[in-house]
């Protein structure tokens, strides 16, 4: 089976390529890259992709698949189909399932289920048993089963003592520790603490709850020599702490979600639970700091924190609704709309943040677009304008605050595991 993708602009920052060309794929391998490739075989699947860019496959390293436990909200398969529709050929799944991904069988089962989909799943293992912060998870076995990083995401690793052990142990496998930074004793609110929480009368999480843990984690990474990755960074001061840590040569990296570089807590005026997430939406100044962090490289990558929740759970009094929103099918659109078209990042810089840096953080191979390599591609149209239509999402859940938003920049297709999957996000 051959596929010919015509009239693409190919951008591969690893190989330093930015060229117009056609790509001929044969049996999942890149057969030929060149201008005006002609084929006479009627069997070849030909797509004219004028105006589109092909990059190595995008990865989203912060995805909550709800399997095992809440298959009504998302399964491995539905999450992977959402990822494919959103332009991702790979995702890393978070371990806060029920039960938590703290045993090799769970890691193996996630990988096995993903094999039937067009998307590669890299599971993140729980750092501690049941994510309780008491006993180390079997990190060696989890690595052997396929886990690429460790986290108690949903919460920070409970104490400095156990964090140290996790870091020391994970370092032997060169695996990063991914931290949801939030001091437990200050946690529990429904929105960011600030002017708006005072006005809206909602219980609030102060920004310092995040910053204290970021500071702790960076110091512990320095002390142990381990790699720490700050998940969903959201406050200006946290970005500054990462910037300073990097300057000192500490192995700290960070990701930001599209909602944290797009929205502020002003959005909560209507008490719409689709704007409730943790970390909460912060202020205008924080959003500016996310943008600056992306620009100067302090923030290494963009990740969605895709968190599906059922309609019943989200259609609720604000304080009782669970945290989290969908992200897989809006991340690329929001990134292009709010970063590329606003002049914050160039397309090659976006490729760094969605392809190269996130894989380097996890220590997994970065695909390249070269003859003889496996075809692992994301194809997107940076100029296409469309309305986000949540009803058409491949994800099983519907909790997105971006329904009806007009975005410029859309995923068009992915090519992975020998198959082209067209996106319908912008359909």
């Amino acid at each position: 089976m051959q596929t010919l993708l015509k009239n693409l602009r190919i951008i591969d920052t690893t190989l330093n390529i930015d060229q117009k060309a056609d790509i001929l794929i044969d049996n999942g391998l890149i057969e030929k890259i060149g201008t005006d490739i002609e084929v006479n075989d009627w069997n070849v699947d030909i797509h004219d992709l004028s105006g589109c860019i092909a990059a190595p496959g995008f990865i989203d390293i912060h995805v909550h698949l709800r399997e095992p436990g809440r298959e009504d909200e998302e399964t491995v398969v539905s999450g992977c189909m959402g990822a494919a529709a959103g332009g991702f050929t790979a995702i890393a799944s978070m371990p806060n399932t029920d039960p938590a991904a703290d045993a090799a069988e769970i890691i193996e089962s996630i990988i096995t289920k993903s094999e039937k989909t067009p998307v590669d799943v890299y599971p993140i293992g729980a750092a501690t048993i049941e994510r309780k912060g008491e006993v180390l998870a079997p990190i060696g076995e989890l690595v052997e089963a396929g886990a690429v990083a460790f986290s108690d995401d949903g919460v920070a690793i409970k104490t400095a003592g156990i964090l140290r052990r996790v870091m020391e142990y994970a370092s032997m496998y060169n695996a990063p520790v991914i931290e949801h930074c939030e001091d437990e004793s200050m946690a529990g609110g429904s929105m960011n603490e600030g002017f708006n929480s005072t006005r809206f009368g909602l219980t609030a999480i102060p920004p310092i709850a995040e910053e204290l843990t970021v500071a702790r984690d960076i110091m512990m990474a320095e002390y142990t020599g381990a790699k720490v990755h700050i998940a969903h960074i959201s406050t200006a001061k946290a970005v500054q702490l990462v910037r300073e840590g990097k300057a000192k040569g500490i192995k700290v990296t960070a990701e930001v979600t599209p909602h944290h570089f797009t929205l502020t807590d002003d959005s909560l005026a209507d008490y719409d639970t689709n704007f409730k997430m943790n970390p909460p939406l912060r202020t205008k100044d924080d959003v500016a700091a996310m943008i600056e962090g992306l620009r100067d490289g302090t923030i290494d990558c963009i990740a969605s924190d895709h968190a599906p929740h059922s309609i019943e759970e989200k259609e609720m009094e604000f304080e009782y609704a669970p945290n989290g929103i969908l992200g897989l099918e809006t991340t690329l659109g929001l990134t292009l709309n709010n970063l590329y078209h606003q002049g914050v990042l160039s397309i090659p810089q976006i490729v760094e943040k969605l392809v190269v840096n996130p894989r380097n953080i996890l220590g997994i191979p970065v695909p390249v677009i070269r003859e003889g390599e496996k075809a692992n591609l994301t194809i997107f149209d940076p100029e296409k304008e469309y309305k986000v239509r949540v009803a058409g999402f491949k994800s099983k859940s519907r909790n997105s605050p971006f329904d009806g938003h007009t975005l410029k920049g859309a995923p068009v297709a992915i090519f992975n595991k020998g198959k082209l999957v067209l996106s319908q996000v912008s359909g």
């Binding site: 603490e193 600030g194 002017f195 929480s197 005072t198 006005r199 809206f200 009368g201 909602l202 219980t203 102060p206 209507d270 008490y271 019943e312 259609e315 609720m316 009094e317 604000f318 304080e319 009782y320």
Partner: protein
């Protein structure tokens, strides 16, 4: 006196002309309350549901009496605990109530934003009877009515809200309402009971009660919440009373004629001494009487309002 607002969700976005209309209308309803037959046919044929998700005695009774005195049909629907523990979602409960054809819903709920959410899932006119630590607009309106009745005006007055500002829905509504009417609002209490960003609302923060007494025309003394979370924010009720309690000695020392309000229920000996709670400066029971008149005005104005525009 057509109100601009269709619902009463809070005072943050209610115009001063609407507040003025409510306070003026309440004057005539207060006269009704002084008659031997305390009832008018104004809302005959209208159905009001008092949907209370939190325990409340005085607010619920005050609304109920206001509804009855306007000849509305009123029903109480009390749910203890959250919808989560009850098993039926809030939305389903509301839909069931609406299916019984009601016109207005008075709602009290422990979670902020519920009245606003209610307007999205129901067609009824919504009146907020207190949502979480957000707003309690009818309480603030009756406080303003009581102050105006006693001192003849609101504009230019200096009003200090004393006590647990952080866990109070009365404070925020009073701040918005009083500021809209031209009063100067400050708050007084220990730092741990004052929200970090309250100053951004244009409110002066005072930590010394003597200063608050000297500087203000009115003190609105809030109840100190004795539940666990609020209690963790100050050392003891004894210490609170020592530094923030309103006592006769403190009032005499400051030699100032200050009007004292308290939304009740009172913790005697904590935020106010018994002597002061029954003394000459306070208008605590008049507030309760005025509460019925003010709620009658709100129910009347919203219940008879024409048109859809906000």
């Amino acid at each position: 006196m057509q109100l601009k607002t269709k619902h009463l969700l809070g005072l943050e976005n209610v115009s001063s002309s609407d507040i003025q209309s409510i306070l003026d209308t309440a004057v005539s309803f207060k006269q009704v309350l002084e008659r031997p037959i305390k009832k008018v046919p104004t809302l005959q044929g209208k159905t009001v549901v008092n949907l209370f998700y939190e325990n409340s005695t005085r607010t619920r009774i005050s609304f109920e009496l206001a509804e009855k005195r306007l000849s509305a049909d009123s029903v109480n629907f009390s749910v203890s605990g959250s919808s989560v523990s009850k098993g039926e979602t809030f939305k389903d409960t509301v839909r069931n109530i609406e299916a019984m054809k009601v016109d207005m819903i008075v709602v009290r709920h422990g979670s902020a934003g519920v009245p606003q959410y209610l307007t999205k899932i129901s067609d009824s006119v919504v009146i907020n009877a207190g949502d979480g630590i957000h707003e309690h607009p009818t309480q603030a309106l009756l406080d303003m009515y009581s102050i105006r009745e006693k001192l003849g005006k609101l504009e230019g007055l200096k009003v200090c809200i004393v006590g647990d500002i952080a866990h109070s829905r009365v404070a925020l509504s009073n701040i918005f309402g009083l500021q809209a009417m031209g009063a100067e609002v400050s708050v007084c209490g220990p730092a741990t009971l004052i929200p970090r960003n309250i100053g951004d609302l244009g409110v002066k923060v005072i930590h010394n009660i003597d200063e608050a007494i000297q500087e203000n025309d009115v003190l609105n003394i809030l109840r100190i919440q004795l539940e666990r979370k609020a209690r963790a924010a100050f050392p003891s009720t004894r210490e609170y009373h020592k530094y923030y309690g309103i006592t006769k000695e403190r009032m005499e020392k400051n030699k100032k004629d200050v009007l004292l309000l308290h939304p009740g229920p009172i913790n005697r000996g904590v935020e106010i001494s018994s002597e002061m709670a029954d003394g000459e400066h306070q208008i605590i029971l008049e507030q309760v009487t005025n509460g019925v008149a003010v709620r009658m005005a709100i129910l009347y104005l919203l219940g008879t309002r024409q048109g859809e525009d906000n």
